[in-house]
Symmetry: D2
Subunit: 346 residues, 4 copies
């Protein structure tokens, strides 16, 4: 059994990691840290874990962590992660970092959107943990930078078209909508029930969301040229789920049927990517609680644009589910272990 630790277990990605790992046949969750809840059972912080996860939250230093587990999920905010990860690696541990700290390959770009980077030497070693694109590298690395939630939906949605140069990368507009768990579990007026329920809004309008450099890095790699996108995130009155609606001008005369076939072929063997049948489209409620990414495509012949829709559960495939998928690969487990449960509906 692999001994696994969660650093920062009291957020929504932490509880989702614990939930998924509780049924993993090859993993033992041996430590969960939380400064705020140190000394409390994790199942008191998250009563859904009662009788399923039997751990006390602890506030531990690196030395102690190293003794307690061999694999770590860093579920702490960016900036904190870049300080916690290096000593774990030095001690021979493997890490999936759920923060943004090791996602951006160009440290200058990172520092432009975030803040100074104190562990830039590790960036080149980190693998961007989107298994559908980087499966082989993930298998071999000791450090995975787990992708952001929005980027996961966008990159999986656009990859086939960009690779095949069927879409003009200068025309990409991405209108994304996320459930509120994406805002985290910190108390704040803006995410109170009464502020969010029965409502809908955009935020970070006009190209200021920090997932943009991550999206552009990966889309550029796929397109083979520098890609700049318009990206508008919105806040949905649901807990879990992201739907990204993506628009671009077609750059070839390929038919909708051919594009459909391209997607089906691309993702045929992928256990977690599901291409919707022609004429049908994804919905967040059909991926809820699962590691699935559903994708649907449609050509708008009136405007010569193609619309791609991609749905994920933002704390599963968009965070903790994908993190476990990466852990599976990094340790030679079956990639789908603990992740094959179908989405919950209704």
């Amino acid at each position: 059994m692999l001994k696994v630790g969660i650093i920062g277990a009291s957020g929504y990605t932490g509880v989702e990691l614990a939930r998924i790992l509780s049924t993993h046949p090859e993993v033992e969750l041996t430590v969960a840290t939380s400064r705020q809840y140190a000394g409390k059972p994790l199942s008191e912080v998250f009563p859904n874990l009662r009788k399923r996860v039997d751990l006390i939250c602890e506030n531990l230093g690196t030395e102690e962590l190293i003794e307690r587990a061999d694999f770590f999920f860093a579920a702490v905010p960016h900036k904190t992660a870049m300080d916690i990860v290096p000593p774990l690696l030095s001690a021979g541990k493997k890490v999936v970092d759920l923060s943004a700290d090791f996602r951006i390959r160009d440290a200058n770009v990172y520092e432009q959107w975030y803040q100074p980077h104190s562990s830039a030497e590790l960036i080149s070693e980190a693998v961007y943990g989107l298994p559908e694109l980087y499966r082989d590298q993930v298998r071999k690395t000791r450090l995975v930078a787990n992708p952001g939630c929005y980027p996961t939906s966008v990159i999986l949605g656009l990859a086939p078209l960009l690779r095949e140069k069927m879409i003009d990368p200068t025309t990409l507009i991405i209108d994304s909508k996320s459930g509120t768990s994406g805002a985290g579990r910190s108390a704040g007026v803006g995410t109170l029930f009464c502020e969010v329920a029965d409502g809908f809004r955009a935020y970070k309008v006009g190209g200021s969301h920090r997932h943009i450099p991550e999206i552009e890095q990966e889309l550029s790699a796929l397109a083979g040229e520098k890609v700049t996108v318009s990206f508008t995130p919105h806040l949905l009155p649901i807990s879990r789920g992201i739907l990204s609606t993506m628009y671009g001008s077609m750059s070839s005369t390929v038919s909708e049927q051919e594009i459909q076939q391209l997607y089906e072929k691309t993702y045929e063997e992928e256990p977690f990517v599901r291409v919707c049948p022609p004429g049908t489209f994804p919905a967040t409620q059909y991926v809820r609680g699962s590691n699935c990414c559903d994708i649907g495509i449609k050509v708008d012949s009136r405007t010569g644009r193609i619309i791609v829709l991609a749905a994920i559960d933002n704390i599963a495939k968009g965070a903790s589910g994908q993190a476990v998928q990466n852990m599976n690969l990094m340790n030679g487990f079956a990639e789908t272990s603990a992740l094959l449960g179908a989405p919950f509906f209704p």
Copy 2:
């Protein structure tokens, strides 16, 4: 007191009309028709109206209707409306038609998106009832084609930019999200609570929603050239509210500040259009239950695009509220009569 009738009172636009009219100082609601609920008090169908609206639903022919009121709201589906409206006009009544039947000025376009039109001769006479654009014509007409919900948000949102040619009309992408009341009150699996709640999806993807010709007609008139748009509607797990996120390339070198001022000046005197302060954006929860349309703008300097966001309550400014606004104008009442209530939040 103006005697007013609602034809088709058992839908969500019907109950909203009755609610608004119940506090109108110059109107008496004298008749409400419903085939399905004939003989039942309207307040039994909609218990929110108890002690506020005292009417029995009736199933009446045109002859009887004519005797009972002098002004009518036709809140029936398209196709039905085009048969009901002509005899009312012939009898000297005024009508606001909430269906799509008289919105499209080109009967061929109408027939291409809907079905054959049996009263095409009335189309030229009908005024498209968006008072912010056609106030004077509304005052003088006997037939108003009340705008669709999506078009109201889109047209008010884009009008200043198109008029001033600050946006390239060939690049318009409109990503709209609507509350579920827009789907009406007919029983169907797709709009059951468990199918919609805690979820989000697109529908009519790829340029097939019937509001497209209406949007394009009005945007073309504003732009002075034929406009074709990409339009994707989505279904929100809320009852009331539309947010349209609109993208287009800037066609001039105007600054964000100048655009902000353009919007503020354009809508300064409008009682129902509210321009958000710089850096803030509309949310459906801030227009809920009101006749307001909130608009926010942002320039994305990275991509040279401008993003316009517009929010309305789809059954108020997007239907019944706007219908009453038109009724007010058609009868010389204060335009804001019965409509000045602030949105309710939370």
Copy 3:
């Protein structure tokens, strides 16, 4: 025009007061205080008020308040209220206090459930502002203690039965469910969207909620004997609304029909209390956004118990709406002024 001030305008009762007063024909809102948001337009804190309420939040002392208005709503927490109210009264102002500070007639009881009372001498003068029970006293007082939200639903629901001794007051069980706005607008993990949405729970189980002494005080007065109740509040995943389900053993052999008639007669002339037709029951969605209280009754002949259901909007009839109703009475305005709007549905 009566000059009116809201002390503590940045909570949910504050914004609801401002919303209601914005359409009141005899009132001018002249001052709104908020320590947290001092200097900001109230419509920036609550964008629903844009173009409807034009006030800057201020942080003012009593002296300044006294110069700015003649009537005050104290929408601050208990304990704070008891310090703010006395100087206002001394300066000749009238006050509706929305806190609990002057609701409990026995200062000992108050101190047992809350904390020491620093203005106990005013308690005897304060009128419990449930107009359906104390209308005449409200008209004459300068200080109204505005009822709590749960108590409003419970007292209006049980009053006829207790007065007529048709129910055994030793058997009363009250199972109440409230929307989340009742928890206020302070940031806290427990009322985050993701903690409340798609869920349901009880709180303050076992007789510990502070509305209990208020409920028992009024039910005892109605029954003519000391009443002790079981009361369990629950948290609903909605913003507005309370439904109280109340159970008691029948103490007479009266029929359901007679009880129905008793309720209909009791509340016949009340503009805001609506008795549901036989066999139908209230729902929070039918009182949303209004000052209505809907009541339904049913005899369970299998058990000899009667069930009473009462629904209100907790921040309207349960707080700000009732406060305005009291203000209307205290100033000789029409009791229904600014309050006659029908509930919003859907």
Copy 4:
């Protein structure tokens, strides 16, 4: 591998059965029937099942069913079930019936609440499938009557107190609240999103819900005397979840601590019943998507009553999860097989 069929797969219990069974290591789902969707992939009806369940809905007669599986879940409405089950049993199959048809041991009582029973001879053989009470019988039977959703929460919640005679069974009041999936997937105005969202109501008030005889049968067996209860169901604006709040007078002088210990001891070895720590209470969001039943207790010393709260997921432990638990027992599988996933939160 056990070949399993779902009769009536197009409802919410059907999709939940398919979801759970898709990860069951000893089961192969070989047939799913649906008259309405015959010929369609089940994953087209329920897209959450894509790539997880590969079955076409069929409309089959009993003969064909018998050839296709060895174990059946009957997920059809009552009345239909009593006709489908007997031939399956005659053919040597085992059945879990999710309808009410075999739950009531007294056919007269059944017929009083439902309709004439055409297979009354099977009633005595059927085992009421609440494993926590009837585990041994379930193991041996070929026909399980799967309990109703409300009864599951009520019986598990009250069993310890009734068995130990710590509560007066003549005083039981049960106030239950259910998510909307309990109303099924048939199209109807009453369960449309806009009718349910942001609202709350009671239904079947006054002792008329058909789960009452089932509740009373089991509570009577536990108490050793005939029990009659007051039971009021309510409709929550959530998809999944039941919370039952139960009240009764204490019939002994036992302390809260002793009752807590009684519950903890009673359910200590149960994998799916979780007793909340003292002072904490269940919430539907902590059992969502799982087979768990969470129970909390509190003594109200002011009134001498005890309050028991029990939460389940109505389509999991309240239907399909419990059905699989019964299947596991009937076939000698581990009782928890495919059911150990922790609830998903948020």
